[in-house]
Symmetry: C2
Amino acid sequence: MNDPLRNEYDVVGRPTPKKDGILKALGRAEYADDISMPGMLHGKLLRSPHPHARIVRIDISRAQALPGVRAVVTGKDFPGVKYGNLPQTRDYLPLAIDTVRYIGEEVAAVAAIDEDTAEEALDLIEVEYEPLAAVFDPEQAMLPGAPLVHDNATANVSAQVAFEFGEVDKAFSRADYVREDVYETQPVKQGMLEPHACVGQWDNSGKITLWSCKMSPYVVWRQLAMGLGVELGSVRVVQTVVGGGFSGGKQEAMPMDFCAVMLSRKTGRPVKIVHTMDEVLTIGHMRHPMKISLRTGTDKNGRILAQHCKMIANGGAYSSIGGFSMYLAGAMLNIPYRIPNIRYEAKRVYTNNGFCGALRGHTNTQICFARDSQLELIAADLGVDPIEIRHRNALQPGDETSNGFRIGTFAFDECIDRVVQLSGWREKRGKLPKYRGIGFGCGSHISGARLMGHSASAAEIRVQEDGTVHLSTGSTDVGQGADTVLSMIAAEVLGVEVNDVRFALVDSDSTPVDPGTFGSRVTFFTGNAVKRAAEDARRQLAEIAGQRMKANPDDLVFRGREIISRRDDRQRMSLKDAVRWGAFQTGRLVISHGTYAAGDEKIDFRTGHGNLSPAYNPSACAVEVEVDPETGQVKVVGFWGADDSGFPLNPLAVKGQVIGATVMSFGHALYETLVRIDGKVMNPSFRDYKMPLTTDVPKLTDFQHSNVITWEPEGPFGAKEAGQGAGTGVIAALANAIYDATGVRLNSLPLSPDRIRFAIKQKYETERAGKESPVAAE
Amino acid sequence: MNDPLRNEYDVVGRPTPKKDGILKALGRAEYADDISMPGMLHGKLLRSPHPHARIVRIDISRAQALPGVRAVVTGKDFPGVKYGNLPQTRDYLPLAIDTVRYIGEEVAAVAAIDEDTAEEALDLIEVEYEPLAAVFDPEQAMLPGAPLVHDNATANVSAQVAFEFGEVDKAFSRADYVREDVYETQPVKQGMLEPHACVGQWDNSGKITLWSCKMSPYVVWRQLAMGLGVELGSVRVVQTVVGGGFSGGKQEAMPMDFCAVMLSRKTGRPVKIVHTMDEVLTIGHMRHPMKISLRTGTDKNGRILAQHCKMIANGGAYSSIGGFSMYLAGAMLNIPYRIPNIRYEAKRVYTNNGFCGALRGHTNTQICFARDSQLELIAADLGVDPIEIRHRNALQPGDETSNGFRIGTFAFDECIDRVVQLSGWREKRGKLPKYRGIGFGCGSHISGARLMGHSASAAEIRVQEDGTVHLSTGSTDVGQGADTVLSMIAAEVLGVEVNDVRFALVDSDSTPVDPGTFGSRVTFFTGNAVKRAAEDARRQLAEIAGQRMKANPDDLVFRGREIISRRDDRQRMSLKDAVRWGAFQTGRLVISHGTYAAGDEKIDFRTGHGNLSPAYNPSACAVEVEVDPETGQVKVVGFWGADDSGFPLNPLAVKGQVIGATVMSFGHALYETLVRIDGKVMNPSFRDYKMPLTTDVPKLTDFQHSNVITWEPEGPFGAKEAGQGAGTGVIAALANAIYDATGVRLNSLPLSPDRIRFAIKQKYETERAGKESPVAAE
């Protein structure tokens, strides 16, 4: 076994620049919108201007007659099969047929010789709507008599998850201390710079090909076949370079995908559709806005005895993966703290808004914001040090949580201590100048999930005659560095350089099926699959080389692109010579496959019980802020984080992921919100939808992050997740820091200047009126 | 084991239409010339007008300055590495550097915005040549003082093969009868309707991609890397639909391929080059013109005791695979007759003509023409029945030939008898009206060759979740039906329908490496690889289904897209459910590989000894002709053939191949010749280069062909080769038929009207002068 402090590996564990970095930096990476094909048409989608309406009639004749228009499709061109992730949540149609349920829902699509003509044709499509009463607020949506978004969803409940572990009522009755707080979060978007884009082709042989920037091409593959009513074998999904997806943004098949291929079928030509940023920010895959009511009971020392969480999520008009989102939020109550008794009641509610799904950290982020905000209040009330209360409740390796998570490596205590030390917490907390404050927050995440459907990873390796290694999986690089870390794993096993490994984009006709990139699964699940594939390739190569060198394959080691006898290192041959000799002499191919399914255990979603992930990653962080009391503006002046990502395979990428997740949480906490009035997004552009800019965050070199290295025995070379967990504790840390700086505590996101200024003003006035307790704004 | 007369199989052995037939019939198949890419440029090649010259200077400045021209390349843009098949025959350069060696040799290439501009730019390239003495006839080329085509080839010998098996001189001295004849053959071309075409791209990441209609994409892959001086992994060859190749026409990398990718490198844009038919018929890959001197000794009953064959081949200016061609011609002396003592001396000679390579039947065709023409004369001289002399000399199963061929299944006697019976030989021979005649001819061929380099086949099968089977190999369908027969093999093993199998075009980035289509290897070599891959996929599926159905995998049978328990046929699951269950439950992929190398035995090319092929296919045929003595025109009025292709997997395709090979031999025998004057092809168009038209041959229904079915234990489901062997005996049969009809015997191809008329006239005049022996024309 490797000593992580003295890395014995040649490739893994060493900071390695992203393989495609140079291509991207030079502007030479080719995105979906860069695709051009001869005869290619350009498509545009007509969207509903109503949040809820019946479609009485669609007349496409004027649009069809416009010179340059080649085809128009409506919902009736599709077989009318609803698609989606799970049987119970299939509520999407490629295009609306009878009813539209949110402003921006797709009603028709046009293919024309250029974008302008397509755009113009949209105006010529006459749709007669009969507006229906709409509902935007989930609590109102559940009231009797509220308009129904989907006829079959009683009280508009799209998904309902409830479970109880332990004896919650008994535990609360034993508690020395109980408090309940309500937290609210807002709708935010991934904000990826590359909009959704695709090219669809339905060719002469009946093959349907979609080129698109998908994080999970095989999910799209299944959904396309489902919604088009064709066999999977007729569909081919080819992944293009993904310009950001951020867990959930580019996961599923979308109306644009269906329309591109259907317009191609009608025209016999490839059809490209690219969304505008307006469309991206309007239609869906937002983070679920939640109202979280969290009641917590502790003993007098702050040890948590029970938590009862009630949550209502605004799901918008469609399900996406919202059913799983609800399960996940409840499951995440179980980490990173020991909570022996948990009751969880969640409802995801349909409203006439754009639909919600996953976004980096998924629903875990919202739960962590609520829990670590409240924990700070509990510590204060009980007079326990805020660091100490976290230690007292920290899950330990070997624990099994009340919902059945089996905690393996879990250096949570060490992460907390590391951050305390890095940040100078003891010297700062309560001792900083006025309007300057420091706050602490913790989080955790899974390393991939065992889901009901297809959750296993697969990889294929072909060692070529020039000694290069062709690596393909159905998982994708979406900028997070999968191309590099997976190549590193293969290179380590086969004794070659990272750049000897070619990492393929997914093509469902040739790459092995794998559900793709989400749930922090790639390094762990696909990494294990790649490792197994590489080990099998190494075994095959050792057999060939053993035959050629008349050596025992078990005596051969792989290093420096060579296969060397352990017994006599003059006995050696290059990898490429071995492949070539095998091919020429005996026709052997060095092609191998590896799969990883983390056992065949699955979560029981009815009871919520089961070990969701093969490994869990705790994290802690502190942020220091400076608040301008006049404007309410928050400036982040310092960040210190630590997490246990197991053995970081590519420390450079782990750092990038941690900073990325952190800055996204800055945005979520401080700036971002989709402002919606009667279902209409009022700020669908990056001018109005504020994301953190480099000028809003500390300099890159001022982000201090440390990996507490454990060795996860189930992970590939000891690795665990790194891309999402690190961001989960950041929002609470910011809320806590703002409180430390100003004495005001906001339970509602975003912690925006107007709200902070209002709360400071209110606090000042309350204090002037002789009162002293802090005030919760809104 | 299957009883071939009562086919127990569901798929193989049944006449099956070609899978891509409909696409081709509808004009929807996409050929290389159908490719269009955004920004694509069009390339043209400048060719030498001299048969032999030194290049003094090339000035491309005027061409470069022409509006619309984007790049010009010359030989100096390439690294100067010669490429080719075998180390000893690497004499090609991507573009000529110092010397041109034939009229049509590539000197420079242009990429422009359209073909006209590129063509115009060619005229603006100024090349100063210093003409050198040239030589066109191989015998003159070997004379002392002849100009040297390549400085390092003494006496212009490009390849020399000589071997002796048995004791030839002793056998001749024992012989009762000896005769020697000289036969000459002409240069002919494949005459494929699709000219060579390619699109080359050298992309931003340094990846070099060539889309082209290649029969052997992996041969091209190796040669491109070699000639460009890059690693194999940088090169990707993607096969487009092949519009005819006929063994040798589209085997190798050509200057157009190198120029397309190099022009792309210079311009950053894809570049298409398509040859004109003029270019196709001028530059190379012709069938070797040969002068074959055949001396044969027999006993008094016509049993052959020894043969001594001296052969001189006109190789043209470059080697191509001419070295192997020379070996093959000699090796083919050993089948289908028992010849215990053989001496073979062959020289392939460089001349200043377009270069020669392989063409359907390869050099076997020429040898068969000579041998079965001469055999007829021997029979006549000895008074032995021409059928009987063939029986007396026929190789038998279990024989080992003098050069080490191990003869397995070999129903040669049955083929002869079948043709005698089908054709009504006994009723016709010598009994037909004047100027009508019937002739007999025999041949044989290999089922793939064990070569020195890479000769093993490989296949990959992926069974998809919809139950379809994705089959890929590095072998290609070139119209011969590989797509169908290989799919049939996979379908038979997996219990699915032929159309459930998707047969992929080769893409060197994803298909398994396999040398491709030549030497009648595909059904046998790749078929075996496919069968093994399918068997492995079936094993994997049985494991999955066994786990799911709690059954012993050995008890499961595959039929009708289902997996069924032998013990209880209510216990069954569909193939697609098995794949899906495996993927979802345990992450298993059903991906398998199969390879076939026919053992690791290789031919010793120095001695010529060794068992070239795992199986041999004998054939016999009779043709009936009517000759117009006034014009010399020959009309084929009947054809009867029989061959032993083992168990014909797709009888429809076998029939197509036999008719195709036969008609090509009609062309070779009667019509075709490239007329060359001082190295210049005078008839480079299908108007002037006459190939047989449908009006020239019997109606399709009048071709009577029968398979003598054997069961080749080494072949996939008992199959052997079918595409080339059947044509090898046809030319001699025609020559013999013309003799039977007219009494004139021509030893020189083509047996064209002018020659026949001249010979008839000469015979008439000779007879009038009171002489009686037949006259050899020319």
